[in-house]
């Protein structure tokens, strides 16, 4: 029997990485929030790889942190190894990646949720969406309890009608044997929401005691660890770290896989969902890259208090017996004992083009969504969307302007714009090549880019924001000073240059010019810069980057200025583009379907040409003048 249970401002369905960020944001902004999960034990579960961050994903975590999200703080408390990737490359692609203690990560997040005011945790499966006159009114759970609310955030991850497969075995469960959510899909369809079916996969977990590490290369963490969160004291993260191990597949492994391809549900056609190309199963790698003689395999600990280890690089949906054979063919895994099988998982998710860049549904007011439910993949992508969906659900309840991050502000902006604007046929993963202004969107300056927004939203406190403002001032002042420091071609200078393998000066120059030399940095030249003020490390880092890459940075700033012109031209809501006679038919159809929020977004829809954009601009101007 349905009954009215309670009333909240906001209901969040799901407590994975998206759901946690959404729920925390809503509650911290003072809204009474309830978060539903099929299992309280699975809050912030990491059902696949045991890392947070990585190339471009590390950027997302930093941005989440700068906006006032939780992921960065949580991993700083629970990591067991950390590495800055790509340090030999430019600052734009430096990226932090940490190995997490999985259960620690989950428990820490659960503790944070439990100790946040205005936040209620409820173990229950959301089965129905309540919508009246195109406005969301709450949710119903499996037991028949009705929860009324002003807004709902869907973060169902990979649980919707999920099934896990390997060989011919199918389990109708979510990841890790957790209960699937089998009812909500129907309710979504009844409300006109279009669903996709995606798939992803995970490798086996093995017993550490069965691994021969002597045949593998040790992979250690960085000597000096950099925290994810801008609020974490760097001294607090200098801990004893654990190692990962590197080994390789070989011809035998590939042979075993090839012989048994017909037994893989991927190749037998049993799996219908679309899988991600960037995260291929080992079967896919062997088939698609048949000329490669070996593939890397990373053996990574799942935590400090477990023997389980993750076999990075070998996700699979081959049958259990083949999994044994395949893993045992890898050097160091000859006697391996599997704790959990590798499997592929299929699930329902939405076509994200049904969303505004605020992550609100175009057809249903007050309904927001984030995470893998939106067709993305990865913990960090999920958390980023969860945060934005949560913030906007809160803004909706408060009747305030929503938060929209455009492509020039952040990777989060790129992620969401890509999801809601582009045709997405596989789970979406963040990549640095997707960010056109990546020189500006560095992980090291996420606080400078986004803290103001986090502060205005209400998730970053006064003290933290003031430090960012102060930092900005210090950087600006020092960059200006450096450009005016004259350096003469004297003996002291030449000696320093020689020490750093840099060509001697022929005439005088500025300190900035010297810093621009690839072999020199701000720090290297302290000796010949007598008036240098004593500045914190993170300020020095910004000064160095701003001086060194000045030319490139200016070029991208100019591009952003152009980009903003179209981005600032708003398009009307629910507009019938058939009225604009001169648009081509394809453009009319696409524009009607997408209902872009501004001309910039319209210009990124495939099938809308530059000429259509010109027509649109003229039409807008015409409408504006008529008013």
């Amino acid at each position: 029997m349905p009954y009215l249970s309670e009333e909240y401002d906001i209901c969040v369905a799901g407590a994975g990485h998206a759901g946690c960020e959404a729920a925390l944001a809503c509650a911290k902004l003072g809204l009474e929030t309830i978060v539903f999960t099929v299992s309280v034990e699975s809050i912030a579960l990491m059902p696949c790889n045991p890392n947070i961050g990585g190339s471009s994903k590390g950027h997302l975590v930093r941005e989440i942190d700068a906006l006032g999200g939780q992921m960065g703080i949580n991993i700083d408390h629970t990591f067991i190894q950390s590495k800055m990737l790509n340090v030999s490359k430019g600052p734009a692609v430096h990226s932090l990646r940490a190995q997490a203690d999985k259960s620690g990560y989950s428990q820490e997040m659960r503790r944070t949720l439990e100790s946040t005011d205005h936040l209620t945790i409820r173990q229950a499966e959301v089965t129905e969406l309540i919508v009246e006159d195109g406005i969301v009114k709450g949710v119903k759970t499996f037991s028949g309890a009705l929860y009324h609310s002003k807004a709902v955030v869907l973060c169902t991850g990979t649980y919707l009608k999920s099934r896990c497969l390997y060989g011919d075995v199918i389990n109708f469960t979510g990841p890790n044997g957790l209960q699937a959510a089998n009812h909500l899909s129907e309710s979504l369809k009844e409300n006109g929401i279009e669903l996709f079916r995606f798939k992803t996969g995970t490798p086996a977990r093995i017993d550490r005691r069965s691994v021969d590490f002597s045949k593998m290369e040790e992979q250690k963490g960085d000597e000096r660890v950099v925290p994810f969160s801008f609020s974490t004291d760097p001294e607090e993260v200098q801990i004893d770290q654990v190692s990962c191990w590197l080994t390789y597949t070989n011809k035998d492994t590939h042979e075993i896989i090839r012989e048994n391809l017909d037994r893989s549900p991927l190749y037998s056609g049993m799996i219908e969902g679309t899988g991600p190309r960037y995260c291929p199963s080992i079967e896919d790698k062997v088939v698609k890259f048949s000329d490669k003689e070996r593939h890397q395999v990373f053996i990574e600990p799942e935590g400090l208090y477990t023997n389980e280890m993750y076999i990075g690089g070998m996700s699979s949906s081959l049958p259990e017996d083949v999994q044994y054979k395949m893993y045992k063919s890898v050097a160091g895994l000859e006697h391996v004992k599997i704790v959990r099988n590798a499997y592929a998982i299929e699930y329902d998710c939405i076509d994200p083009r049904q969303l505004y860049p605020t992550l609100e549904f175009k057809g249903i007011r007050g309904l927001f969504s984030g995470g893998q439910f939106n067709g993305s993949s990865g913990y960090e992508e999920a958390a980023a969307q969860g945060l934005v969906a949560g913030i906007n659900a809160a803004m909706f309840c408060k009747g305030k302007e929503p938060l929209v991050l455009d492509r020039s502000t952040s990777y989060i902006g790129v992620l969401i714009d890509d999801l809601v604007t582009k045709e997405n046929r596989e789970p979406y993963r963040m990549m640095t090549s997707r960010a056109e202004y990546r020189l500006l969107l560095r992980q090291d300056n996420a606080d400078l880019r986004l803290s103001k927004i986090g502060y205005e939203v209400g998730l970053i406190d006064e003290e933290r924001y003031h430090w960012v403002v102060e930092k900005e001032g210090l950087i600006e002042k020092e960059v200006d000073r450096i450009q005016h420091v004259k350096i003469g071609a004297n003996a002291v200078v030449q000696k320093i240059l020689e020490e750093h393998g840099s060509a001697p000066l022929k005439t005088g120059t500025t300190l900035a010019e010297l810093i621009r030399r690839p072999e020199l940095s701000y720090d290297d030249l302290a000796e010949i810069d007598k008036d240098r003020p004593n500045l914190p490390y993170d300020v020095v880092e910004q000064v160095n980057i701003n001086i060194k890459y000045d030319g490139y940075i200016k070029r991208q700033l100019k591009q952003v200025k152009e980009f903003k012109k179209l981005e600032n031209k708003k398009l009307p809501e629910n507009f019938d583009y058939n009225q604009v006679k001169s648009l081509r038919i394809e453009a009319k159809q696409k524009l009607n379907l997408y209902q872009p929020v501004n001309v910039g977004q319209a210009s990124r829809i495939s099938g809308v040409s530059p000429a259509d954009i010109s027509v649109l601009l003229v039409y807008l101007e015409q409408m504006y003048r008529k008013k």
Partner: protein, 463 residues
Amino acid sequence: MKTNTIAAIATAMSNSGIGIIRMSGEESFEIIDKIYRGKKGEKKLSEVPSHTIHYGYICDGEKVIDEVMVLVLKSPNTYTREDTVEIDCHGGVLVMKRILETVIKYGARPAEPGEFTKRAFLNGRIDLSQAESVIDVINAKNDFSLESSLHQLQGNLKNKIKEVRRKIIHEIAFIESALDDPEHISMEGYSEKLKEIISELSLELKDLLLSSENGELLKEGINTVIIGKPNAGKSSFMNVLSGKERAIVTNIAGTTRDILEEQVNLDGITLNVMDTAGIHDTWDTVEKIGVDKAKESLSRADLVIYMVDASTVLDENDEEILGLLSDKKTIVLLNKSDLEKSTTENMVFSHLEERGMNHPVLSVSMKEEIGVKEIKNKIKEMFFAGEISFNDEILITNVRQKSFLQSALDSLNMVRQSIEDEMPEDFYSIDLVSASEELGNITGECASEDLVNEIFSKFCMGK
């Protein structure tokens, strides 16, 4: 580097009178300062009062391009409400093109179709009632530009550009894969390798630029179609014009089955001459195609040369041809006038008159090269009188394509510079992406999706 200062030729593209190159946008004055030289040496047009006109020269470095009058118009009292410069030059097609190219070289970009009008409207200069016509201008010009850039681009050149672009995207994909998955993909020794690849690709782009200098990207010139019955001497005429044994000349009727094309320069006027198969009723399918093509090329013709064989009588085939010529600028050549005439000038005149046409008729002999000079003079006369001109959009499209090629080459040079400056690898892809986008503008391909596909299909990544 993308700029928002646009330039275009504002007058008709004919060799008559005065030509105007117009430039609009923030950098207009900065650019004109770089290329304008006053009669008495230095004069900065950025510092002169608005709405004044200045005599001087347009120069590319030391090289003087033309003697000009420059009109300086400061925002907002201009057509586009932006800073505007108008360069009045001698009306020669080549001169106008070279000035436009110089303006682009120093920082402007070729205007999109209808862009001046669009800006004028968006900046509030044009009245609301004209909005529809603004849209029409954009659409009409754009249709042509799309057609000319995609269809008229010579097939092999287009393929070459696509190939260069594909190679660039492959390199970007490699760099990006290595950045996204540094533990799987190593970049050791890559800089050196890329430097070589960049040199090769730069050479290919330079070749393409050379082709564009010669107007070979899109054929520029007056589309001149030679038409007539089989064996009237069309191919001989073409050979006489181009001075080459180009078309196959036999006395067997129907030898030219396809269209032969040749560019001929008549004292600075470019003719794009197309020789067609003779028109007569035919059951021969191969030749039938030739005839259809001839009719089709007539529809694109700016000038028609109608060859009549004076040694035969006018028949129904000539009637058919005459029927196609009523709205075409045409010169009728009475060929083989050295032989005994079955058809005289007067007979041709009366046929023309019957149909209300008064095309000029010249008696010539291609074999003896009699009357060749007169033909050339006639064409020049018609051109300078403005009776014939060619579609200026082709020339503009060529300039535009060339500027894309040049930008792509500039971007590759920046990559080379980054390698030499020992910048980190991720900087290479910034300019490689620009290069691929510039080339994509020519081939009509979009970079981002191609790149993602290349990354996933060529490089093995991931967990």
